[in-house]
Amino acid sequence: MLEIKNLHANIDDHEILRGIDLKIGPGEVHSIMGKNGSGKSTLASVLAGNDNYEVTQGEITFNGKDLLELAPEERAWEGIFLAFQYPVEIPGVATSYFLKAALNAMRKSKGLPEIEAAEFLDMVREKAAMVALDEKLMTRAINEGFSGGEKKRNEVFQMAMMEPKLAILDETDSGLDIDALRIVADGINKLRSPERSFIVVTHYHRMLEYIEPDFVHVLDRGRIVRSGGKALAVELEAKGYKGLLADAGETIAS
């Protein structure tokens, strides 16, 4: 489904990603872990098409298409969804209006007519309930005045609305208390399916207790230094990045 080969990316001439290779199949959940500054969020942003980052080398194919050729909206139409680490506040645009605009843009790209008001409403109610998001937030400007938890739940809610093929969750767990984390994780688990893949970017093992990954990758200085099953997350929790990276260093060196 997704194949990343030797991906290098810069921001302001600083190289952040220094040769990422990653393959993700349908229905798989991959967790990307790593310290601050290891390049996790950069990878998520590059996949979504944020042009603050310059891809200098490598390729990304998504369902056979060259992703790097596509604009951010075209990637969304292809089924890529990024849940932002820091969701943007957009004053003056009502969440419900924005959702309808987004949904209709997605439908248009598939040659479908605009969504019916009643159908839209049912969908909003169902998906909002999934992440216990107050329906009243729909009438407010996007993320404006939302609490940290509401912003993150709004991201997962949007994900549920968009029904992506590949969902990238960029530190969706950060800033959530334990109850909110459970709600968000439950919501994500409900969206898991044999066709839908996930990239879960996180600092902490905590999130992965709820969302069981099929694969765990540890990122350090722009490269994947260890890959493994969910046991790797447990090992990481025990040893810490320092311990794990010391081992990895040996592996790489040998």
Partner: protein, 466 residues
């Protein structure tokens, strides 16, 4: 001893000839004084601090003629309907080149106690109503532009709301200029008198049909007597080659409440002088504005809010969206007189530059002579937020649509202040038509969101029930 005013500064004989052609009436002395005052001052130049960024030099030497006699029958209903909005029928007065068109106006729906008539004819028939106010508020001694209108105006609207009359139904005054083969000048003049405890809504549209250069120099005086509420809108949709100079003078007596909205879309060179005198305790004045400019349009909003009495509030809330080479000017002068304790004056000017060639000059001017007051002002100049654009695009919204949505949202706060729903719809449609991706924005309203979603809910629930 008063200094002798120079008798002539300008050898601008274009206007004197036209003045001489005017018939005599009880206003003759005022008109003569205004004509002389204009001749003494001439059009302001950029050396004048209040006109520093707006250059009227292009007006010099243009042989502006009186517009040819034009009747509304020369204009198709479709051409005019473009400037109407649903909900104004029944109280609409049409003026073509400044002259009232009774047969194409519809004033049948006016409630009892509300008069809307040609100011030109009312000067003969309703002198007692007009004389205490006309040219008493808009100061022709200080402003050459206002002086020229005072000397030369022929017609416009008299709107009179009787004591205690309350109406939400908008009164729409439509001023259509036709332009022509030679440049013309029109001088519309409006007088709005809101008596004690009345409540009214007035929309003034300035619009151009056909092409050609013309000058509109309009003056509107609004008098809100004790406890009167006036909700006023000026919608400016002049032709692209137009000079539009307008003066608005709001007078507020005790507990008077006036909101006045300035919505500028058209014209080439536009100057709005928007003034208020808060002359009674507890008066409230709100000036809301939105300018949406492109190409080489220039709009100068020049506000002067004069707090003369204590316990008054004023709000100024002006936004501008500038594309291409367009240019905006905002000056917000707030005067708080010595007696005007407990004044609360707020001013905000927010600007969105969509092109690197667009420009805005914004300047607050506070003159505060009282010591127990609250005055705040703020100005912002910015571009569209790249992060917000990316966020929207990542959800499948195209770049153009994302930009349009953000511009629309920026304007939304101003348009949202418009309290006449059908006028608001009209303005939103106008705004969408200005945006690259306007069409996709017609299926809902990004602002008014509280109503929007609630409407969807109600509508959908109703459908389910049936």
């Amino acid at each position: 001893m008063m200094a002798e005013l120079p008798t002539t500064k300008t050898n601008d004989s274009r206007w004197r000839e036209r003045f001489a052609a005017r018939g005599a009436d009880w206003l003759k002395d005022v008109r003569e004084a205004a004509m002389s005052r204009f001749e003494a001052m001439g059009f302001p130049t950029t050396r004048d601090e209040e006109w520093r960024y707006t250059n009227l030099a292009p007006l010099e030497g243009v042989p502006f003629a009186s517009p040819v006699a034009m009747s509304a029958n020369d204009l198709s209903e479709e051409a005019l309907a473009a400037f109407y909005f649903d909900g104004d029928a029944g109280a609409r007065a049409l003026f073509v080149n400044g002259v009232f068109q009774a047969d194409r106006s519809d004033l049948s729906g006016l409630p009892a106690g509300v008069r809307v008539m040609s100011l030109g004819s009312a000067m003969d028939t309703h002198r007692e109503l007009i004389e205490p106010h006309l040219a008493k508020h808009a100061d022709y001694r200080e402003s050459a532009v206002c002086a020229l209108n005072t000397a030369l105006f022929e017609d416009g609207a008299l709107v009179h709301i009787d004591r205690g009359v309350v109406t939400d139904k908008p009164i729409h005054l439509v001023f259509v200029a036709t332009g022509g083969e030679v440049p013309t000048a029109v001088f519309p003049r409006n007088l709005v008198i809101a008596e004690e405890n009345s409540k009214s809504r007035i929309v003034v549209t300035y619009a151009g049909v056909w092409a050609g250069t013309y000058l509109t120099n309009g003056v509107t005086e609004i008098v809100a007597k004790e406890n009167a509420v006036v909700d006023h809108y000026q919608v400016q949709r002049e032709s692209p080659d137009t000079y539009h100079l307008s003066t608005r003078q709001v007078y507020l007596a005790r507990s008077g409440n006036v909101s006045s909205h300035t919505l500028a879309f058209g014209g080439r060179l536009v100057r709005n002088d928007i003034n208020a005198l808060l002359d009674g305790e507890g008066a409230n004045c709100m000036f809301n504005g939105l300018s949406v400019l492109r190409e080489s349009q220039h709009v100068d909003n020049h506000l002067r809010v004069d707090h003369a009495k204590p316990h008054c509030n004023s709000w100024e809330f002006f936004k501008g969206i500038y594309d291409d080479h367009s240019r905006g000017v905002f000056t917000g002068r707030i005067i708080v007189r010595e007696d005007a304790q407990k004044t609360d004056a707020k001013q905000s000017n927010m600007n969105l530059l969509l092109s690197k060639d667009a420009m805005i000059d914004t300047k607050p001017q506070l003159e505060i002579l009282a010591d127990d007051v609250k005055c705040t002002h703020g100005a912002t100049v910015g571009q569209l937020d790249d992060e917000a654009i990316f966020y929207l695009r990542s959800r499948g919204v195209s770049e153009e649509a994302a930009r349009s949505l953000l511009i629309y949202a920026f304007a939304g706060e101003s348009v949202g202040q418009v309290r006449i729903a059908s006028l608001r719809d009209k303005l939103q449609a106008l705004l969408s038509s200005r945006l690259a991706y306007g069409e996709s924005l017609t299926f809902g309203r990004p602002f008014e969101y509280s109503d929007d979603f609630a409407d969807v809910v109600r509508h959908a629930d109703r459908r389910r029930e049936t």
